[in-house]
């Protein structure tokens, strides 16, 4: 009977075996790996030929092949890809307006005053009512009405596309770009995963076996817009970009803007990969084979169900969990006064100089600090802070209280009152793409790389780029206007 305890002689024996293995390794001609693979492949081929028969006709060119020839062709691959994504964004934007308005009027216009009165009549002190109803409830109500409709439309479409088998074709189209940038072709897959969730995308880089290329993939994954950032893109594009053109073009133009930001994200991924692979992460590009799976008719109902449960509800739940405490914090910071001004006003005032310089504003930067745990709560945070700073007492019932906004137009007029311009909106969309990943993703990067340094680089690189890009855009914008 052998025991697991390592006695001196068993250790000596082990070392002896290892030494011998090493000796042999040096004597084996050629590549050991290849010898083994060859033996396995030839046996697999022999077994397969004994078991598989193909009666009747040899395979005719299948539908799969024909579709692939078009969607992965040099000429049509990219245009089809962009059009398909733009179409999804357009459906999302034009489809979510009405339900968003309905939810807002239900949760904010009707339920909120009732809760407020209820809290007063039960005899809650003003501060408790403030934290619970004006802070936590309103932040959550906003999260639900702003985020639920676009997610309930976008995620099922995205999942259907995934189920059908289109995403690997996107990866195929992008593959040679990634190789040119000095990254692993498989990174095109992990980037696709990042479009859902960056933390998942970072974990997915485990399929890349070279540590150098894996690090590149991890650090640049954040440039893929994640679930939590889509709603910000959709809302801001609708309010500020779509409104620049006549109404019947608005949907298309906003969809185009979101497509542009997503494509820009791919651009930044490639650019950073290129820069990293020429500086801190130099090395050879490894090759791999990418399998294009057969197209499968998506199982519509099952897909709808799982995408609603796994994605929409998951993201919404996460948003609510983070919005509750954030709402309380925002309300408190708006209502605790130090030296005449509230804490929030101090913070916004302190951030304003830097923020306005790069074409954003203090509210946005503060919102991005509050929203480090989850990008999902950016929009509600911005709205609450804006009400408070602009002192829009006429629309609300006091500083830090959210107010009755029954349409997107009201949101826009509020933001405009807060000093927002088209530049602010454009830069917010860019900053939403280019800033530090959420804390979950940063932690995942730390766990996957086992290094605080790489995690810090992965957090600071996009943040630095965000400031740089918004600064440049602001300069150019101001120069021309």
């Amino acid at each position: 009977m052998i025991t697991s305890s390592s006695t001196p002689e068993s250790v000596a024996q082990a070392e002896e075996i290892l030494r011998e293995a090493q000796r042999w390794r040096q004597q084996i001609p050629g590549d050991l790996h290849e010898h083994v693979v060859e033996a396995i492949y030839s046996q697999a081929a022999r077994l397969a030929s004994r078991a598989v028969t193909r009666p009747g006709l040899a395979a005719q060119p299948t539908l799969d092949r024909t579709i692939d020839r078009i969607v992965t062709s040099r000429m049509w691959g990219f245009p089809i890809m962009l059009l398909l994504f733009a179409l999804m964004f357009w459906l999302t934007i034009s489809g979510s307006n009405v339900p968003s308005g309905l939810l807002a009027s239900l949760l904010v216009d009707q339920l909120y005053p009732m809760l407020r009165e209820g809290a007063t009549s039960v005899g809650f002190p003003w501060w408790l009512r403030g934290v619970l109803v004006d802070g936590m409830y309103l932040a959550t109500a906003w999260v639900v009405s702003v985020m639920l409709p676009p997610m309930a439309i976008f995620f099922p479409m995205f999942t259907l596309l995934e189920d059908f088998g289109y995403l690997p074709r996107v990866a195929f189209n992008l593959d040679h770009l990634f190789k040119k940038a000095g990254a692993h072709g498989k990174q095109s897959m992990t980037t696709m995963m990042g479009f859902g969730c960056n933390a998942a995308g970072v974990v997915a880089t485990r399929i890349i076996d070279s540590p150098r290329e894996r690090l590149i993939a991890i650090i640049t994954n954040n440039f893929a817009l994640c679930n939590g950032r889509w709603p910000t893109q959709f809302l801001i594009a609708t309010l500020f970009i779509g409104s620049l053109v006549p109404a019947h073009w608005a949907g298309l133009v906003s969809a185009g803007a979101v497509t542009g930001v997503a494509a820009l994200g791919i651009g930044f991924t490639l650019l950073s990969a290129w820069a990293l692979s020429r500086t801190v992460l130099k090395g050879e590009v490894s090759t791999f084979s990418l399998e294009l799976p057969p197209y499968r008719p998506p199982r519509i109902w099952q897909t709808l169900y799982t995408s609603l449960i796994d994605r929409t509800m998951f993201v919404l739940w996460r948003a609510i969990v983070f919005a509750l405490p954030a709402g309380a914090v925002i309300w408190l910071s708006a209502n605790i006064h130090v030296g005449g001004n509230s804490i929030a006003e101090h913070l916004v005032g302190g951030l304003d100089p830097v923020a306005l310089f790069v074409g954003l504003n203090g509210v946005i930067l503060l919102a991005y600090i509050v929203a480090i745990p989850a990008n999902e709560i950016i929009i509600p945070t911005i709205l609450m802070l804006t009400v408070m700073v602009t002192g829009s007492h006429e629309v609300g019932q006091g500083a830090g209280v959210m107010f009755e906004l029954d349409s997107d137009q009201a949101v826009k007029s509020l933001l405009t009152a807060g000093g927002w311009t088209t530049l602010t909106a454009v830069n917010l969309m860019l900053f939403s793409l280019l800033h530090n990943p959420c804390s979950t993703t940063i932690y995942t990067i730390y766990k996957e790389t086992g290094s605080a340094r790489w995690a810090a680089l992965a957090a600071l690189l996009p943040l630095g780029m965000g400031f740089l890009v918004t600064f440049l855009v602001a300069q150019i914008w101001r120069f021309f206007s």
Binding site: S4, S6, I17, P29, V37, A44, A51
Partner: protein, 274 residues
């Protein structure tokens, strides 16, 4: 024969030996596994429907996608079949077990060190040759394997006929044709898993017929040493091959004595009454 405890009507007792009845007897346990009788590992190429099989048996809703590389972590779940509790571990989908990438390492280490009672290799019936590469590698590591020949519906659609009996004879392990998306073949798969886990079905996997000629002297010499040191090692040739390839994990396991604890299942596992 085990008769299910829930049986109330006498008519059911006569059904109890029928495989269709057993499938109805499947209790999906999700992730709520406090204790288990057997551990089942699920390996396979990417995009062969591994996660679909996993979900069908455990009742979990691991996200599946038409998307190679969906599962890079080990997902675990469980099911209760015929009165026995099975813990199922979904390994990352890989094309081989030879490279240094983390996903292949996770799969390789679990099959070797986790010593699952059964390893299911899900293979794509429409791409049998390439999938067999992985099957053969798994069979080098473990005896107790079941090949789940999935996507049979697609194979039929493409006009392919796969002779699973021939394949089972050649491989020396059970081969179960399935179309997991439609639930076809899952009752048979469950039964086969049970039979292999309990030892009712004994696998005699056919391992590589031809060792790579360039490696023969090295393998022979290492193999002799390994067998002398660890007479119970069930997969000495594979271990020798990995040592030649310079696998750090195996070297570490050898130094720590962990390798010595790996023994042939068939010699140790209690033979379950069935």
């Amino acid at each position: 024969m085990n008769t299910p405890a829930t049986t109330t009507l006498p008519a059911h007792e006569t059904c109890a030996s029928c495989s269709v009845y057993r499938a109805a007897n499947l209790k999906k346990l999700g992730v709520n596994m406090a204790r288990w009788d057997y551990v089942v590992a699920l390996a396979g190429n990417p995009n062969t429907g591994k996660s679909t099989v996993f979900n069908a048996l455990t009742g979990l809703r691991q996200h599946t996608g038409n998307w190679p590389g969906k599962t890079v972590m080990r997902a675990e779940g469980g099911f209760d079949y015929d009165g026995k509790r099975f813990k199922m571990v979904d390994l990352p989908g890989t094309y081989s077990l030879l490279s240094t990438s983390l996903d292949e390492q996770i799969a390789r280490d679990f099959i070797l060190f986790g010593q699952p009672d059964v390893t299911i290799v899900v293979a794509d019936a429409t791409r049998l040759e390439r999938n067999l590469n992985l099957v053969l590698q798994v069979l080098e590591i473990t005896d107790r394997a079941v090949v789940c020949l999935n996507l049979m519906d697609e194979a039929r659609r493409h006009g392919l006929q796969v002779d699973e009996r021939q394949l089972a004879r050649d491989l020396g392990v059970p081969v179960v044709p399935t179309a997991a998306r439609r639930g076809e073949g899952l009752p048979e798969l469950l039964q086969t898993i049970r039979d292999v886990a309990t030892g009712k079905t004994v696998c005699r996997p056919q391992r590589l017929e031809q060792e790579p000629p360039a490696l023969q002297p090295a393998l022979a010499s290492l193999l002799a040493r390994l067998k002398a040191a660890y007479p119970n090692l069930p997969n000495a040739r594979w271990v020798a091959m990995r040592l030649l390839a310079g696998d750090d994990h195996l070297a570490k396991a050898l130094r720590s004595g962990e390798l010595g604890t790996l023994t042939n299942h068939a010699q140790l596992a209690p033979v379950a009454t069935s």
